[in-house]
Subunit: 272 residues, 3 copies
């Protein structure tokens, strides 16, 4: 059978702490296009604060479910570049992840349910000579481009038994509620917590109250417009976790809150 | 007749107040690529200040004329997400606009001369379940992708008789000039006004003076280099309206001016 | 012979001082897509400080080697737009450069070894009418798109004998070392110097010491992890020149240094 006239182009996404001032992101794309001129690119975010592996990991995990099967995700938040940390290629049932073994890939891989990880070793797939300061250009971009051309994962190096994980704070279920914390602040000042919608499901039909630090907020509500402009609210947002927000404002600024601030969900004392 | 070997790919542009810190823009693109893997993307701007519908609308209007016919423009500045504001698909003679009915689409649609607007209703074209906080991902991106695949506008929902407009300040023509104001400040500190080149055409051949607030500026000149480095000038710029600028400097900083600052064009008293 | 079913798409890269607040970059891309709907885009950087031709030139030069042969690079840092500075198309053995003749293209062209430069004159390749404030949209983008369609360089205008160059500071070789300076600060605060790896090659096997201003730093080392977290080091980095960096920190902040700060490499006095 003839191949289709217009095969679906592969997709590579890019996540880094490279910012927008330099050409580093563009250079990685140039290298990848030299290997697979048909591959499509999507930027996830490049304003990860320098070396903030945890924030990079959370962004990557948040984005993965929304990309077509087979997408190759490159994450270059790599404070250990040039040291002994190993470069990884991870295959999940629906995606490939490429980046350093410093935890940045782990939350996304773990969320995928099952995954296989390979140490990237075969220099035939590298840009050489490999610099000691920019593996994004010399290792991760060319490897991602080769993956996008259907080079199988095991071709890049041996399977590894385990990869580095991150110490993500977990919400704690109590009899009368859930105790969690803020793990991420977004551009709008929304405070994303680690209290997921599943952990709230057992309270369906029960009246709940939410507080962040010592401050009570409205909700959980189902949409921002349930409160007045400028009011605090809790909502299960687009991350499928509880967020604390200010309608058309910034909860982070209003509350001087951010990652680590405790958030509590409690069954309301109905006084009956 | 056989289809062409390489059909022209459709284009989707993206405008939002999502900034560059999070993966929200990338997530919308991932959703769109899952529906139309061949569509091309162009970012207009994502640094619209949160919830600044007017600025978003002006950026969208400024960009529309420069895209190929059939381009689908998505604008997600959406403070009312999850409320009753309706999602819209607008068809102009040369483009499609997708976004909330809060005014962000109106100036671009109105500038196109004629347009038809449709309330987006048919959830077959949505990503489900639809979140109450991110219609960009669950409604606008997938609808735009389907539009880019030539799904006709009426398939998404019923035609609506009117859409929300914005209260854009209009320049006033006087016998001896035009009185307008700054409506937009760009990255260079250029002060874009609402005095368009057409309203100045009747003064062709007549000497004019321009002032902003109480400050007289040179011009209208035909190019920046008509004044010294660091000098104030007025020029009909790339928006086809009068701008107040500083040659190789920032008029916004020099004048502490911005949207709302009055600008006056007057026929020069020649003392004859 | 039939053309291949999926010819390699041409690539245009974009570099400017347009920032991310306005639609100017998107507008250039819209114009280019109207001419060549199949061309691929890569952004190099748009946060070049307004009118900073030197920084733009250094970014362009740094990126060029990593793109496929035939890539068209557009650089719009153009304080003289609308004046008499000429628009240029430059052909190197492996790339095309498009932009104003103000020096922004010169370092990249010179680094390519040989090049031919053409004054862009033929308005058939322009978007008309040509504004006096945005040649990126009306001249450079459409010309780049036509170049990407294989219009030959000489079609755009006459060959010019010389182009404007920039006064880049050069490192000075001494008997016992090299004296150079910082020319660029990147997002991480790494201080990129003008001391290239070639000028250090003659000291291979000899112990060297590096100082920046009056401060001695470790190295040259071969990777960041050779020093403690937070320590200063010198390394031949991804630019193939000596950089002064702080491991997982910012050398620019630590040292209050930037372009112009002197950097000295010296043969170590071994006291023998």
């Amino acid at each position: 059978m003839a191949p289709p006239a217009h095969p679906t182009p592969a997709v590579i996404t890019w996540l880094s702490d490279f910012g927008g001032d330099d050409a580093y992101v563009g250079i990685m794309k140039g290298v990848a296009l030299g290997i697979n001129p048909h591959v499509r690119f999507v930027d996830l975010a490049h304003n990860v604060p320098p070396q903030d592996v945890l924030r990079g990991a959370l962004i990557l995990r948040s984005a993965l479910p929304y990309f077509p099967a087979g997408t190759v995700h490159v994450a270059v938040v790599d404070p250990g570049v040039g040291s002994t940390r190993q470069p990884l290629l991870i295959r999940t049932p629906t995606a490939f992840l490429v980046g350093p073994d410093n935890g940045v890939l782990h939350p996304a891989a773990a969320a995928a349910g099952e995954f296989s990880a390979y140490r990237i070793e075969d220099s035939r797939y590298f840009r050489t000579p490999v610099s000691q300061t920019f593996h994004g250009r010399d290792v991760f971009a060319p490897v991602a481009a080769h993956v996008s051309l259907d080079v199988p994962a095991h071709a890049f190096g041996p399977k590894v038994a385990s990869i580095r994980s991150l110490d993500l704070p977990k919400a704690v279920a109590a009899a009368d509620g859930v105790i969690g914390e803020v793990i991420y602040t977004d551009r709008f000042g929304n405070l994303i917590t680690n209290i997921d919608s599943a952990s709230l499901a057992r309270f369906r039909g029960v009246s709940l109250s939410v507080s962040i630090g010592a401050t009570a907020v409205a909700g959980p509500v189902t949409h921002y417009a349930a409160v007045e402009q400028g009011s605090l609210l809790a909502i299960v947002g687009s991350w499928s976790v509880l967020e604390v927000a200010v309608r058309n404002g910034s909860a982070a600024e209003t509350l001087h809150a951010g990652p680590g601030t405790p958030v509590t969900v409690k069954v309301k004392d109905t006084g009956s």
